[in-house]
Amino acid sequence: MAETVIKTDAVIIGAGPVGLFAVFELGLVDIKAHVVDILDRPGGQCTELYPEKPIYDIPGLTIVMGQELTDKLTDQIKPFGAEFHFNQRVETLERLDGGFRVTTDLGTTIEAKIVVIAAGGGSFTPKRPPLPRIEEYEGKSVFYSVRKMENFRGRDVLIVGGGDSALDWTLNLQPVAKSITLVHRRPDFRAAPASVQKMMTLVDSGDISFKLGQVTELHGEGGQLRSVTVKGADGTIFEQPTEIMMPFFGLTMKLGPVADWGIQLHENLVPVDTEKFETSEKGIFAIGDINTYPGKLKLILSGFHEAALMAQQAHKYVYPDKKLIFQYTTSSSRLQKKLGVR
């Protein structure tokens, strides 16, 4: 785990539209940023929830799709060369002399002078199906992701779902596991057609088994699953023996580790002032949907405004001896140089 420590000016938690624009505003005042996000690509809710849905209230853009806005922002911040760390969640935040150290669940360690929390509705985490006593099995025989394929070697694995995650893991674990049973509520799948085709072939050859239905109960002791009850599509109820279950019911947003960083919270949101958008902790800012203040509106445009004001205060921490002179991108040759347009 003794990986190299990244040293930078700012670490931005969340690569949604507001986190992306924070790169821009910080970049204009010469603050370099690293961005961490639990998803595998930028955009946050924009790309995860509504990539093809129109947004009508971005100033100057009559209509823009979630994906399109993300692409435009990604393009806009390119000159600032921010580094992205995807597929990981910031777990811990420690205070250092004159800054902070954050560590992700993948072991990436970043030391920065300031921290910007732009985590929206929280981090996207797998949904937990409301099966009685499922908590007892989690981490022992119920898993929502695969960290090490080896842990599944020679085991009986039951996969629940019909999307890409369910199908990908069905295909990837098939050569490793002793047996794979895929349970899905209907004969249609949302997954990529090629994956569905491969899965069907494996079903036909008898290498995996597919059952139509929904899991309704778990059976086992001490966190070790023995079988599950499945309600078939036709209403028949049967018991399916298995050692491991992997449910794939999509993602939901949870505040996550932010709650453990010693920052004052209010109803799962982070209170900030409306001048600097700083939290109860100096040097830690919160912008976008995750913050709260009197009159707060959870709009992307509010987050953009918050990013701009945050950057002004951030400059004071990163460059305590420099005076920041406010400039316009339209007329400032220095800003235009940074943007690479001059």
Partner: protein, 106 residues
């Protein structure tokens, strides 16, 4: 105007008046009906506004489109009468609509 009745898992009933054009989800959220989370705000991108449409209203509400059927995979205890309430548009013809809210949205 259409009156919509939401029946909670414990049997509690709430009847609200909804304007044609809004969705059954929006009518619930506007009236603070418990049990409709609508996490994604009506983009058909979660499954937290899952309802069971009363049998008498199946025909009037129609059946789910492909995208809604796909998203229902993310709901729990899906039945033949399952719908995502953000995908049911209120019309005058739905006056009296009865929907049941599942025990849990996930």
């Amino acid at each position: 105007m259409a009156r919509i009745t939401y029946i909670q898992h414990d049997g509690t009933k709430h009847t609200v008046e909804a304007e044609p054009g809004m969705t059954v989800m929006e009518a619930a959220v506007k009236n603070s009906i418990p049990g409709i989370a609508a996490e994604c705000g009506g983009a058909c991108a979660c499954a937290t506004c899952h309802v069971y449409v009363d049998e008498a209203w199946h025909e009037a509400t129609g059946s789910p489109a492909q995208i809604e059927e796909d998203m229902l995979d993310f709901a729990f205890d899906v039945r033949s009468e399952s719908r995502l309430s953000c995908q049911i548009k209120v019309t005058d013809a739905l006056d009296g609509l009865l929907v049941r809210i599942p025990e849990k949205q996930i």
